[in-house]
């Protein structure tokens, strides 16, 4: 541009012509100024202040960006650095972060896919780093042809992909006796949803021949905790998978790289990571994580063992304590949004209450509605600037309705730790701030 102008000036010898051009520019400039002045006079008294972000060139618009492949494995914008998993020493032994849990930032997620770097993580002996070249999977016991597979051989089996949630059965465990954390991330963040790819276990078993006497399967991990669980054959033959991919790429080490078991809808703890061995037998194994832990102690003093499915559940993600309605004005139309899921089947409906469960309206489901997967729900709400007690209640196609806290604790008591799926309540205060509260009837005399 500047070069062309220079050339024009050099080839122009007629001074008069130059002078007339200058006059033209001056006149144009003067006109512009007066036009702006006129606009100011005509504008209403409350003229909006100019947004500096619009008036001026931006830094990124006037400089060269990064080379396109500066990060051969892409990373999020530096501005997103607070969108991360979080931990709390109170959810671990003595603050030790090898046997602990990290929570997914549900308040920052959109849709139903959890990015792999944000998938919640629970480990019992730290995150193992397995050499895929040394990985072996052994399948034996009551089968006709026991086998050993390398990773490459396993991945040769015909693959299927499923969008499935994984939830730690202790999700929300801190909240049995009352609300503790004031954040969506810590109230419900021990869960994520991803597209998992692998082979149906049935496909392998059809080939190696499961003996009719087999009733149970032992799944054993290869990490330092050798995490293992017993699974009934019926689930193995229905929809169990051995998966090696998560959202299109290899499993992350935190999720069991290179291979984990996937039991759709069941406790994430049953979906054994760092998978090493599957053995078929006639009797259950009584692994540590299905006796000492992951059993639900009931008020009778007896405990439920082999507690598999994560029951129908839901949570409002917008608003939430981290994403309040402080910026809303009375009369604003706003979307209430959330996630519903059921390990028993597919979500059929979600109801929303604004008065702590006295009255409900029906929300709309939106996006993909899939079995044992997060399902988004939506409700358009006219904000009145008044305090609210917001709840969501999900229903699934097995006919289960998400219970209230009072209903759930009437059966389960307060010490079961696991499978807490009762309705959550967000209190929206006058100022639009959002707080974790519980609507419940307790029997403790004051």
């Amino acid at each position: 541009m500047s070069k062309i102008s220079e050339n024009n000036l050099e080839t122009t010898t007629n001074k008069a012509e130059q002078s007339s051009r200058r006059e033209f520019f001056k006149r144009t400039a003067a006109y512009s100024v007066s036009a702006i002045a006129a606009a100011n006079i005509l504008a209403p008294a409350k003229l909006l202040a100019d947004d500096e972000n619009i008036i001026h060139h931006t830094e990124w618009g006037t400089t060269l960006g990064d080379e396109l492949n500066k990060y051969p494995y892409g990373i999020p914008s530096a501005y997103e650095h607070n969108v991360v998993r979080r931990t709390s020493a109170l959810l671990s032994s003595a603050g030790d972060m090898h046997a602990a849990v990290s929570m997914t930032p549900l308040h920052e997620l959109e849709g139903i896919i959890t990015p792999n770097g944000l998938h919640f993580t629970r480990t019992h002996n730290g995150v193992a780093h397995i050499d895929p070249n040394k990985f072996r999977l052994m399948i034996h016991g009551l089968v006709e042809k026991p086998i050993v597979l390398t990773l490459e051989q396993l991945k040769k089996y015909p693959a299927e992909s499923r969008l499935l949630f994984l939830e730690c059965p202790a999700n929300g465990a801190a909240e049995w006796k009352g609300p503790q954390f004031n954040s969506l991330q810590f109230v419900k963040g021990m869960m994520s949803n991803a597209e998992w790819t692998g082979v149906r276990l049935k496909t392998i078993l059809d080939e190696i021949g499961l003996k009719p006497t087999a009733k149970w399967m032992l799944a054993e991990g290869s990490d330092g905790s050798e995490m293992s669980r017993t699974i009934p054959i019926e689930k193995v033959l229905d929809d169990a998978m051995i998966v090696w991919a998560q959202n299109g790429e290899a499993l992350r080490p935190e999720q069991g790289y290179p291979v984990r078991l996937m039991l759709p809808g069941w406790e994430a703890n049953l979906c054994v990571k760092y998978l090493k061995r599957l053995e078929f037998g006639t009797e259950p194994w009584y692994c540590k994580e299905e006796t000492s832990k992951y059993t639900a102690l009931m008020p009778s003093g007896k405990a439920i063992q082999h507690f598999y499915p994560l029951e129908v559940n839901s949570i409002i993600t917008n608003p939430c304590p981290e994403k309040p309605w402080s910026d809303l004005k009375k009369g604003d139309l706003v979307e209430v949004e959330g996630i519903a899921w059921s390990g028993h089947g597919t979500i059929t409906a979600v109801d929303i209450s604004f008065d702590g469960g006295d009255n409900y309206v029906k929300a709309s489901l939106k996006g993909l509605v899939l079995p044992k997967s997060w399902t988004r729900f939506s409700y358009m709400y006219k904000y009145e600037g008044k305090p609210l007690l917001m709840q969501s209640r999900a229903v699934d196609d097995a006919g289960y309705v998400q219970p209230s806290i009072t209903q759930e604790k009437a059966i389960m008591g307060l010490e079961g730790v696991y499978h807490r799926n009762s309705i959550c309540t967000w209190e929206v205060r006058q100022d639009g701030s959002v707080h974790n509260v519980q609507v419940r009837t307790d029997n403790c005399p004051k």
Binding site: N82, S161, Y286, G301, K302, H306
Partner: protein
């Protein structure tokens, strides 16, 4: 009101009294209920876990298309060798399958415990260090419910809770000591297990445990052996599980129609003492992360300005400009001296416009960048 009564029945008799108090408040108001809508996929409520299953038919499984060609003949992998099976098939089951040869005394276990375990699990397994408490629980404590502040919690320890001793020896062998699992010999394993069971007051044939081996181990009956349900043992085990899940009351599930209006009000419990100790701390701010001091040194302002304004031409020699790192090209440029190189950078030379076109840079900033480029090309 009829439907509300149904709901109460589903809740079980133990809570009717307390729930009636809340329902009576709105008994006069008619409430509206809604049946559960049908699912969008054809489902059969026949799953073992009380849920539904979906069939694969006509090339579909719910919303997923599936390949229905036969997979018969897909056969990768090989048979495990006897030694491989011996190395990996070592799980220890309640009937004693998998127990290693060897023996150990509770006394030996006590010494080993003090050395390897007390740091996390406390003296004599009494806890207090934040890691699981291993001893001291009672079966009676399992009925404890913290319905009021100050009430005791159930005390779930090896002796009061674990149903099988096989679980303990198997778990210790594979997963303990915590930082160096799988390091115990069979004798150490028996010693440690004997010590922990003895500390928990577990007996064999009514006598205190002093020594454990493969044979007497099989005689152990844990105090809470019958503390769990459904019964998963024996030929009926799986069917017991199925029967358990058939009844929603068993696991706190609610079925049937749901109340839509005038369902009743309950009290609101607020957070008493908020847990705020989370890492990293809560924030939803979108800003640039604070510079890591170590990274800052590696990326000086001059280096950053170079990346932004100069690298497009100087990163390689393809633009005719001397590439940063090309020693010969820069040695030649420097023959005329630093002052001349700075002058050219500020005023332009050959195909390069003044300051490389980055007129926002001061002369001193350009000189800093030139210095960085020269230093990086020595």
């Amino acid at each position: 009101m009829i439907r509300l009564n149904n709901k109460l029945i589903a809740l079980g008799a133990s809570v009717i009294a307390s729930t009636l108090l809340t329902t009576s408040a709105f008994a006069a108001t008619e409430s509206k209920t809604e049946a559960a809508p049908a699912g969008i996929y054809k489902a059969t409520k026949d799953a073992l876990d009380g849920g539904v299953t979906y069939k694969r038919s006509n090339g579909s499984y719910t919303a997923y298309k599936v390949n229905e060609q036969s997979t018969k003949g897909v056969n990768f992998g090989r048979a495990p060798t006897p030694n491989e099976l011996k190395a990996w098939d070592v799980d220890i089951m309640p009937d004693g399958t998998g127990l290693p040869e060897g023996s150990g005394t509770a006394e030996e276990g006590s010494e080993l415990y003090d050395k390897d375990c007390a740091v996390c699990h406390g003296e004599f397994g009494a806890g207090g260090k934040g890691y699981p408490t291993l001893t001291g629980g009672t079966l009676e404590s399992l009925k404890n419910q913290r319905t009021c502040p100050g009430k005791d919690a159930p005390n779930r320890t090896i002796g009061s809770y674990w149903p099988q001793a096989s679980t303990l020896i198997w778990y210790i062998r594979d997963a303990m000591p915590y930082a160096h699992p799988k390091s115990y010999t069979p004798n150490q394993l028996y010693a440690m297990t004997a010590y922990l069971l003895a500390e928990n007051g577990v007996k064999i044939d009514g006598k205190d445990i002093t020594e454990l081996n493969k044979e007497n181990f099989k005689k152990i009956v844990m105090p809470n052996r019958n503390g769990f349900y459904p019964n998963i043992d024996g030929p009926k085990g799986v069917e017991n599980v199925r029967a358990f899940y058939k009844d929603p009351k068993n696991f706190g599930a609610v079925t049937g129609t749901r109340c839509m209006t005038n369902c009743g009000k309950e009290s609101v419990a607020k957070i008493a003492n908020e847990i705020t100790a989370v890492v990293p701390p809560y924030t939803t701010v979108r800003d640039l992360p604070k510079e890591d001091a170590s990274k800052g040194a590696a990326s000086s302002p001059a280096a950053k300005a170079y990346e932004k304004s100069c690298a497009v031409c100087h990163k390689t020699d393809s633009m005719g400009a001397p590439a940063v790192g090309a020693k010969a090209a820069w040695a030649k440029a420097m023959e005329k001296g630093m002052d001349k190189v700075n002058h050219n950078a500020i005023n332009g030379v050959g195909g390069m416009p003044p300051k490389g076109g980055a007129m926002n840079l001061s002369d001193d900033e350009v000189k800093d960048i030139v210095k960085y480029m020269v230093e990086s090309s020595k």
